[in-house]
Symmetry: C2
């Protein structure tokens, strides 16, 4: 069983991408299930095979504990851990080849609180997993924001410690010319020029960041399925090839 | 007038740091005001000179529009822009030398949505500003999380485009030995070793990230005011010295 997490900032299109990627896999007669891990999502465009809201629902948490919207989100995520054994058992009954995991709306709650990572590790167990990080292409059109999202992506890769694929989501919302620019940046072209004037430290950081991109962000549209073949191939490459964030061959360097 | 923003992930101690830093400045007979920019905060330990909740309150937004906790946070932040002119005028009446700005609980809502940045630029106008980024030292104790938070810090620096000071918040919660380790990492010592085995790309990225730290994260405790002198000195250095994220002298390099 392979777990494919979908992460990204609020509004980057995780839930829609999960739905469309599931449909894409089903169309190819693949065996796929979907897990919703967001206790605060209001409506889902798909019927999840497992829904974390059956255990913890942010709206209920808010009412029951008299919390405000912000606290209720944090408490809901933390409450998940107390239900982890039951959730693990129920998810364990899923027998699909691929399990797509839709994560909480705000990536911060999932990635930077220990609960999110602990919960995911528990869920995945010994199975292989990959994290699809969605960079909203509408936001990424600006060079500074593009770099900012790449840095956020690296930050999350370090925090979660699993292999990661970057995608540029919602490319149907930007012009061909803007897309061309984003693709060039992904190949390491023109990004430093587009940034304008930055200090020495930032200059070096961006240069290394670009060099560290083994695979450029994949342009993706959940509207017309642009990039889905490429995303699937990349996920396959990582899962099948045994690529890991931690590699033994580097051991000698450190 | 100088604006000092306090940002950091949910639970990193922004609000408490704002309160204590205000009191610290007041004790030294400085002229300081506090602005609360979080529409979703439930209680504040200080009385703000300006409170954004007078214009937009996340709990009210939730009830009025029938939204869930997650949507109400996003909508509240976006609604701020519609009130920007009035807010700007009211904040403009503050005549303190320093204005400390307490930002939304989740840094993502402030930094990665255009509203947050647009709103802050509008607020600051031509004045100088600096962003104090809080790295929760309890989370940063683990090498991978430390790197992850530094990357997040860089991400936010690029996104906001203003000079930034990193602090290790809540150091009273960690042991002396842990603090010693964090300080060594900030000086570029032992971090790569502590990370264990990582791939080549990550290795280079971390090395550059460490080198790009002009000033190591300042250990801070809002409980015993450890690090407050140092933080104040660093803010002064940046604001008075005219250091800017964008420097003219680099122009020729690009």
């Amino acid at each position: 069983m392979y777990y494919v997490f979908f992460t990204g900032t609020a509004g980057s299109g995780k839930t829609t991408a999960v739905k469309e990627f599931r449909d894409y896999l089903l169309d190819q007669e693949m065996d796929v299930a979907v897990v919703n891990m967001d206790p605060a999502v209001e409506t889902l465009p798909y019927t999840p095979d497992f829904d974390v809201r059956d255990y913890v629902d942010a709206r209920e948490v808010m009412e029951r504990f008299g919390l405000g919207p912000n606290s209720s989100l944090i408490v809901s995520i933390d409450l998940l851990l107390t239900k982890a054994t039951d959730i693990k058992r129920e998810v364990g009954e899923i027998e699909s080849n691929y399990v797509l995991v839709d994560t909480p709306g705000q990536v911060e709650l999932f990635a930077y609180r220990d609960t999110g990572r602990t919960f995911s590790s528990l869920l995945v167990g010994d199975s292989k997993s990959v994290n699809v990080f969605l960079m909203d292409s509408f936001i990424a059109r600006e060079a500074r924001s593009y770099v900012s999202l790449l840095l956020l992506s690296s930050s999350i890769r370090f925090k979660l410690g699993i292999p990661q694929v970057n995608v540029l989501s919602k490319v149907d919302l930007i012009s061909d010319k803007e897309l061309e620019k984003l693709l060039a940046w992904g190949e390491g072209e023109d990004l430093l020029d587009s940034l304008g004037v930055v200090d020495d430290y930032s200059f070096e950081l961006v240069r290394t960041l670009i060099e560290s991109l083994e695979v450029p962000p994949i342009p993706l549209s959940s509207t017309n399925r642009e990039g889905f073949d490429k995303l699937y191939a990349e996920i396959q490459r990582i899962l099948a090839g045994g690529e890991d964030f931690v590699t033994e061959e580097n051991n000698s360097r450190l």
